[in-house]
Amino acid sequence: MNVAVFVKASLDPNMLRVDSSGRILVEDIPLAISEYDRNAVEEAVRLKEKHGGKVVALSALTWGPIQKRVREAEQVLREALAMGADEAYLLVDEALIPGNPYTTAGALAALAQKVGEFDLYLTGEGSMDTLSFQMAARLGEALGVPAVSYARALEVSEGKARVTRDLEEHLETVEVNLPAVVSVTGEINKPRLPTLLQIRRAFAKPLDKLSLADVSYTPPSAAVEVEELRLLAVSRKNIIVEGTSLEEIASKLVDLLVKEGIVK
């Protein structure tokens, strides 16, 4: 069974960099593998361990500048390789930067079609930087296969996947014929931490860079323009309540809650 797993090199939301005017300094924020995509890689590797076949990790660089970012995106794919993916492909193209789910999904679908035939396409339910929750649905449309979202359990047998979808009020278990796209939640598994040896071996695995021309994809000319990216204006007070004793701090906090109209 061959599994394609889509991973995003996301801006790390814990490492925000901002200038004095509140503008987000995107170029200075490090990229890291998007949290739930790590779960997707883990699930792909577990399926390989159970059913055989191979795992191919796919990514597109969506944050610039390219020069500076390519290595970081490669690092994200190396992480997937160290976890057990067999090969990796990275799309690098100015036309994909800055990314939006529309162009990124089209490009990633073209990449998947270019590099192999897959029984299953996995990805995280959303990316940790932009949280658009669109990829599985759009990839399903672009690849012309069913998409099943929010999986917290996944089993594959006889050309079918059985997926437990995590919805607001209930868990819904469904079956779908393969090939299909499945997006996974953070609850589906605990991603493994690769050993040093696995990390070293990952450097021997194939990692290819491709352009949009290589995968014959022409992005739409007008999609979405990012007008601004700035720190949330409604900032918090960020007051640390201090005192010489816990009693004093507790009293101050009670008074603050009275002042806010919460404690009456």
Binding site: L232, L246, E247
Partner: protein, 312 residues
């Protein structure tokens, strides 16, 4: 401009009507059509009054996202809207993303605001763990989802014309449905939510948070590990992007480090208080008032002081 509203259940039309009102106040009058799945035509009629527009209805008790999106696509082709708007529930996000994917148009998930600037519509999204705002200008037609329970429901008008549509079949087949375990108190509606995290060492210690919640007339919620890994609280107490979003008057995060996945679900709280012994915990960046202390030392003292205040 023409807007198509898409809802997986008719109640959501009333929230979408609230958004529409806001949009019209900024961008001028819009022409509207709506599509909803509903358990009956009567239910659909009731809620179509909020949008007061032609409403396409698929009568069904249970629907999969691909059925809704295919039916919605037919309606998009008939109505040619400039905007397709849904509600950012799990199903809503997926249905609208499928429509956007199939039509080849942009989509902005869970927009927090819409703005008319120089004749163009700009959509604001919270990104980077809810700490940043991205202002997007999409080419039209485009799609978007609005946050659930954000917009005030307007007065209903006259029900619109109802047009019944058939749902196509789904690629999915249902095996079973399990209700999630419920805790009894609804944290989405509570005015005060006490959030507990991994700073608590054992389940019994959550009693302190319960006591605090009782005193303030609130409910106890939690971060991911407390519900998903330790199962100390039911999943409906889980606050986060995979759990519940809350908008209380007070959110008090106790022993919670402040991962973006958790904090982005509490950003609409009016006041945020954080208690954590690590002064570098990210939670303090999101807090109005922070207390750097061991919760085991601080909470008993704070509960005592609060008792004195409430008692007096």
């Amino acid at each position: 401009m023409k807007v198509l509203l898409v809802a997986e259940k008719p109640e959501l039309l009333s929230e979408l009507a609230g958004f529409l009102k806001d949009l019209e106040s900024k961008a001028g009058p819009v022409e509207t059509a709506a599509f909803t799945a509903a358990p009956s035509l009567d239910e659909a009629r009731k809620f179509s009054a909020y949008v007061a527009a032609k409403t396409y209805v698929a009568v069904a008790e249970r629907v999969f996202p691909d059925q809704l999106s295919k039916a919605a696509l037919d309606i998009v082709d008939r109505e040619n809207p400039d905007l397709v708007i849904g509600v950012a529930t799990k199903t809503g996000n997926e249905v609208v993303a499928r429509v956007a994917g199939a039509k080849g148009i942009p989509m902005m998930t869970e927009i927090v605001d819409v703005e008319a600037r120089d004749g163009a519509l700009l959509f604001h999204r919270a990104v980077l763990g809810g700490r940043a705002i991205s202002v997007l200008k999409p080419a039209l037609p485009a799609a978007a989802t609005i946050p659930a329970r954000k917009y005030e429901v307007p007065q209903p008008g006259e029900p619109g014309e109802l047009v019944e549509v058939q749902l196509p079949s789904s690629a999915l087949s249902l095996v079973k449905v399990e209700e999630k375990e419920k805790g009894g108190v609804n944290i989405e509606e509570a005015e005060v939510v006490i959030g507990v995290g991994r700073g608590f060492r054992k389940k019994e210690d959550l009693a302190m948070a319960e006591e605090l919640a009782n005193m303030l007339g609130g409910a106890v919620g939690c971060s991911r590990p407390i519900a998903a890994d330790y199962h100390w609280l039911p999943e409906d107490a889980w606050i986060g992007i995979s759990g519940k979003k809350i908008r209380p008057k007070l959110y008090m995060a106790i022993g919670i480090s402040g991962a973006p996945q958790h904090m982005s679900a509490v950003l609409d709280a009016k006041v945020i208080v954080a208690v954590n012994k690590d002064k570098n915990a990210p939670v303090f960046q999101y807090a109005d008032y922070g207390v750097v202390a061991d919760l085991y030392q601080f909470l008993p003292v704070f509960i005592q002081k609060l008792k004195e205040k409430l008692g007096g």
